[in-house]
Amino acid sequence: MSVTVDEIKAGKAVSPGWVAQLPLSGKLGLGLVIFWIATAIAGPWLAPYDPGAFTHQDVFASFGAAHWLGSDYLGRDVLSRVLSGARYSVGLAAAAAIAASCTGTGLALIAALAPRWLDELLSRFIDTLISIPSKIFALVLVAAVGSSLLLLFLIAAFIYIPGAYRIARSQAVNLAQMDYVQVARTRGEKAAYIAIREILPNMLHPMLADFGLRFVFIVLMLSGLSFLGLGVQPPDADLGSLVRENISGLGEAAPAILVPALAIATLTVGVNLLIDALPRRHGSKEG
């Protein structure tokens, strides 16, 4: 179990035995995830052209030898723009998902060990936030505070904390009733010790699966915002912005619009396939 945990965290260090047990869909998912993590890290160095330079005399050119994935609405190289854009889509979403999962788990541990009134207050507040559909919430937040990269990160994290909290709290409350936690209490351990040493290790596996789902939701939400022109702002461009700026190429079926959209799809589908294939002990699939 701990092997699985570390591997997902690092996205590498794959032990053969664990991978061999995955069904085909899981291996495909793992491959896609590793591919996109590598692209997010190394993408800008692999790009054959400067993503901002006008390198093609035609706009919306199709696949070709010099420009593998064609050119965009201004004649820029699509491959280079996708390789550079992946960093924003993967990086921003991963950072926000980590923040959301950690905050949600932390709050859940507090709720599980805190006095009853604090737990109820917190849960009521979270129930309220969860009742606002995420895309609608995102629109309200973007309208209120704007959409710099830092704000997008904060917005995405904030919107997905309630979901993480809900899953983590149900785990933590159950675990807090376990005998070994009662023993630790009787032993006179402090609440922080019980939370971190007794409860948290047993929540890690379901929370990692939940982290993966949250990552997918956030990728979809951020690229959706960028697609609407409300997410990552020029000159920066994530994969969703690339779809938006090339929307006029739709009539010609230009790779410039299809490739970034498919790129997002392979990323999110890959994560989903991988999570679904992981051995599950008490995981819940509800977001």
């Binding site: 869909s25 009521r124 507040f125 129930d127 309220t128 936030l129 009742s131 606002i132 559909p133 995420s134 895309k135 609608i136 629109l139 309200v140 937040l141 973007v142 309208a143 209120a144 505070v145 997918v216 979809l220 690229s223 959706g224 697609f227 609407l228 022109g229 409300l230 969703g240 779809v243 929307i247 739709l250 009539g251 079926a253 619009i257 299809l258 959209a261 498919l262 997002i264 799809a265 999110t268 589908v269 994560v271 989903n272 396939l273 679904d276 699939k285």
Partner: protein
């Protein structure tokens, strides 16, 4: 079922109490949601009056406009006034469009409702069929194929589905228009033709999730003793699922439908924008771009209200479908 009148009467009273509690809790949540929406949309540094008049405005002009807009009053009072306005059907005045928010929304809301209703009509039967078929062939080749397909579809971005639909039906086949203009005059068929692509995209978006949850709900039942009993007495698989299992799985299935339909609300934001459809979601996107806060708040509240209503419906069905609660 064979309960005596007195026990069923007290059962009904208990049921009503349970439902009343759910409704009250839903209303409380809606109130808190409105508070959150109000607070967040007031986060912007500076205020609307200053922004509208620009930097060069005299302080007197700003103060006058603030007073006219009621911004000089304390936040709690403004909140209560806004809430009362919402309840009374007057959610404020849009300074950007220079008309009452209620009028703007009234022109868009029917379009959104039509789109949502038609998508639901397509998506629900389709999802039920896929989910039930899949559950009946659990572990089989068809089930595994459907399972992987729906799993992948859940994670597809809405704009990919919509763009592929446009490419296929509008660009390649030239069957359907790529922009959903609702004809002012025209038959129901014209309307369907105009809306076919948004409906198709929205349905694809929600069907996968719905089918997966339906399958899970039925499979959860298939492991129970009464199913084994029915199997042992020789009930056919179709009858087993439709007559024995489905009534027991109705609560989780309706729950799945409600949750997925609430996804229509979010999906509509992208789909309406792509197809230039004059619905509420694209209106809300415009409100964000033009920073039209009263309009944005009203749209957000309508969407939250729709979501909470769906949840409430699911809860109600779950309570009504449980005979243990009905005949207590």
């Amino acid at each position: 079922m064979a309960a005596s009148p007195t026990s069923s009467e007290s059962g009904n009273a208990f049921l009503l109490l349970l439902l009343a509690k759910r409704v009250a809790s839903g209303l409380l949540t809606l109130f808190l949601v409105s508070l959150v929406v109000f607070i967040i949309s007031g986060l912007l540094p500076g205020d609307a009056a200053q922004e509208m008049l620009g930097q060069s405005a005299t302080p007197e002009a700003v103060a006058a406009l603030r007073q006219q807009m009621g911004l000089d009053q304390p936040a709690a009072l403004r909140f209560l006034r806004w809430l009362a306005g919402l309840l009374g059907g007057d959610p404020g005045f849009s300074m950007v469009a220079n008309m009452p928010v209620a009028d703007i929304i009234a022109s868009r809301l029917p379009n959104s409702l039509i789109l949502a209703a038609l998508s639901t009509l397509v998506a629900v039967p389709l999802a039920l069929t896929i989910g039930i078929t899949s559950a009946m062939r659990q572990g089989g080749r068809l089930d595994r194929a459907l399972n992987t397909t729906t799993l992948a579809m859940v994670a597809l971005p809405e704009f990919l589905i919509a763009t592929i639909a446009v490419l296929f039906f509008a660009v390649e086949l030239r069957w359907l228009p790529s922009i959903a203009l609702v004809p002012a005059q025209g038959s129901f068929l014209d309307l369907l033709r105009a809306l076919a692509m948004p409906i198709l995209s929205l349905s694809i978006i929600v069907v996968a999730q719905m089918a997966r949850m339906t399958r899970a709900a039925i499979i959860a039942q298939l492991g129970l003793p009464y199913v084994e009993m029915a199997r042992l007495k020789g009930v056919s698989p179709a009858r087993l699922v439709l007559v024995h299992v489905l009534p027991n799985a109705i609560a989780p299935i309706v729950n799945a439908m409600a949750l997925s339909l609430s996804y229509l609300l979010g999906g509509a934001v992208i789909v309406e924008t792509i197809f230039n459809y004059p619905g509420l979601a694209s209106l809300m996107v415009n409100a964000v771009t033009s920073r039209d806060m009263p309009l944005l708040q009203a749209c957000a509240m309508i969407f939250c209200c729709a979501y909470l209503s769906l949840v409430l419906i699911a809860d109600t069905v779950a309570i009504l479908a449980n005979p243990r609660l009905r005949n207590r």
